[in-house]
């Protein structure tokens, strides 16, 4: 996994609540067998008209926000389907950090597995970031220091769950870490087979 340490970028604002994963990546693009290449379909129905032309009103189609690596949005971002394709599409487009007042659970988990920071922030801090986005001035998100820097406008501290922070900073492979505990998994299976034999009936 690509580690997330420190990111400096212009932010794009998507001021909508309850943005669901169908909206982030519609179903017809889930037929892939790869993780890569989904960026061009990100927010497909918002970004493109039915005839395929770019919708010029959509923020990521505007020249100053095309390179945005930070997205600022509304509550309950990523609700709905568990499709990790939503995070793959964001990451493939170049979005490495999403800021919102709240996220759906499965979506934030998926972010953590792909080096994308889903950052919960209170509205007053989001408003400061939004002002920066509107002015197309870059923000710096520093995960090690847990601080958002806003140039001459100062900045603010945030906190992220310790386990998540460690995982994003290190970029370590979860499966590899778990494999260090194979003895404990073996022991659990032996215990379970004795205590709950019906779980092992086939």
């Amino acid at each position: 996994m690509r580690p997330f340490t420190r990111l400096t970028s212009i932010a794009a604002a998507l001021p909508m609540i309850n943005v669901d994963t169908d909206m982030i990546i519609p179903k017809q693009f889930l037929k892939t067998i790869k993780r890569e290449g989904l960026g061009r379909y990100l927010f497909h129905d918002l970004r493109y008209a039915p005839n395929g032309a770019e919708n010029s009103g959509f923020v990521l189609n505007q020249s100053r926000y095309r390179q945005a690596q930070i997205l600022i949005t509304g509550t309950n971002f990523g609700c709905g389907s568990s499709r990790e394709h939503a995070v793959w599409a964001l990451a493939d487009f170049g979005i490495r950090c999403v800021m919102a007042p709240s996220f759906a659970d499965i979506f934030s988990n998926n972010c953590a597995k792909n080096g994308v920071l889903a950052l919960n922030l209170p509205q007053h801090q989001l408003d400061r970031c939004l002002a920066m986005a509107q002015a197309a001035r870059p923000l710096t998100v520093d995960l090690a220091d847990q601080y958002v820097a806003m140039g001459r406008d100062g900045g603010f501290a945030f906190t992220v769950d310790n386990a998540l922070r460690h995982q994003l900073l290190s970029g370590l492979d979860d499966i590899g870490l778990t494999e260090e505990h194979m003895d404990a998994i073996d022991a659990h299976e032996r215990r379970s087979a004795i205590e709950f034999p019906w779980l092992w009936c086939q």
Binding site: M16, N18, K31, R83, N110, T178, A184, I185, F196
Partner: protein, 470 residues
Amino acid sequence: MPRPQTLYEKIWQSHVVRSNEDGSALLYIDRHLVHEVTSPQAFAGLRQSARKVRRPELTLAMADHNVPTSKDRSFIVRDADSRLQLDILAKNAREFGITYFGMDDPRQGIVHVVGPEHGFTLPGMTIVCGDSHTSTHGAFAALAFGIGTSEVEHVLATQTLRAKPARTMRVNMDGALPFGVTSKDLILSLIGTIGTAGATGYVIEYAGEAVRNLSMEGRMTVCNMSIEAGARAGLIAPDEVTFAYLKVRASAVKGPTWERAEARWRNLPSDDGASYDKEISLDASAIAPQVSWGTSPEQVAPITASVPDPSAISDAAKRQGVLRALEYMDLKPGTKLTDIAIDRVFIGSCTNGRLEDLRAAAAVTKGRRVASHVQAMVVPGSGLVKREAEAEGIARAFIAAGFEWREPGCSLCLGMNDDRLKPGERCASTSNRNFEGRQGRGGRTHLLSPAMAAAAAITGRLSDVRELMR
């Protein structure tokens, strides 16, 4: 005396392989369901790192999201990308030694319908699947939740997940459901009340008279849509209804093992005095049949109501959401819901594709015809449901009334196969999500119960099913 525990805490605790200092745990997973859309990258990851599936015998693979529902599907899947995903799942299952129900298997169906009906799902288990509606299995008091593809790979490789304990919420659904009101109305009403993020971070335990009185099918419908309230999982304590359902289906658990299992299951319900992080109550006796009018499952109202007026909403972000939804749905504030004409009807999905659902819909259509301008389809949740419905004469009744009777799969719930709405088409649907474009770009979805969907098919507009039942 030990501290009283909730059902959730009991299941969680008995599955902790290892506790980490940060409060997270390595959680053992008893059953893993796999489908063709969210698994290819996980299997590719295993192959890339030369890993095996740790417990193929605890894993069940199913073709459901992409499968056509037409009769000729076993000869040809026309969509090349769908065909590729289905072929790859079959190949992965073979290579890694996993049981696979392909399109031509009589047991095939939607993974959350098939699991329970074959006794794969048992109380006290942990179950995961790369699908958010895994919450369905909570009806059996199994801790069941959806995961992403990276986590699918983690479970395939290690049979565990890294997870943090959720907060607990008890939802007391008191009172008896009135005439014509179903489990679907119960859950839609709850989502309408607490919102689609109302239970984010929580596992919901559904309790109370209305829940106790539900069949296992009805309980599955309730737990299925927990995710639409933001909860990754929903739970219902096991009882005689659960045991009776399992006795005939979980045929592998028998004799003294069944006795032991049942004794344990009887100890699973939350202890008296167990505390929850949050408790809410809902008066089930006051609920009317529900129908969604917007593009989020929380945008729902009793069928007797009208399309709401956004200008009456004080919260700006919420008002904006409603305005956008009404524009997408092409609805005007104040329109009576029963005045909304529909083009399509979909009866099926992991929410409402079980035999009881089909029976309820068929009862409404009896002796009636689908309105001439409406295209209505019934997609059984599984091969077993389909055969049972055919044996009971339900299929014949649907066909006689003018419904299409299709092969099992996820179908129009998400439109990954050929079953899709055209732009502007309006559908009365028993599925679970009314998001923009969910059933096809520009398509408009109204969520409702199977009986309400049947009523809409007959009248050609959203209708109060109670008027057709009298």
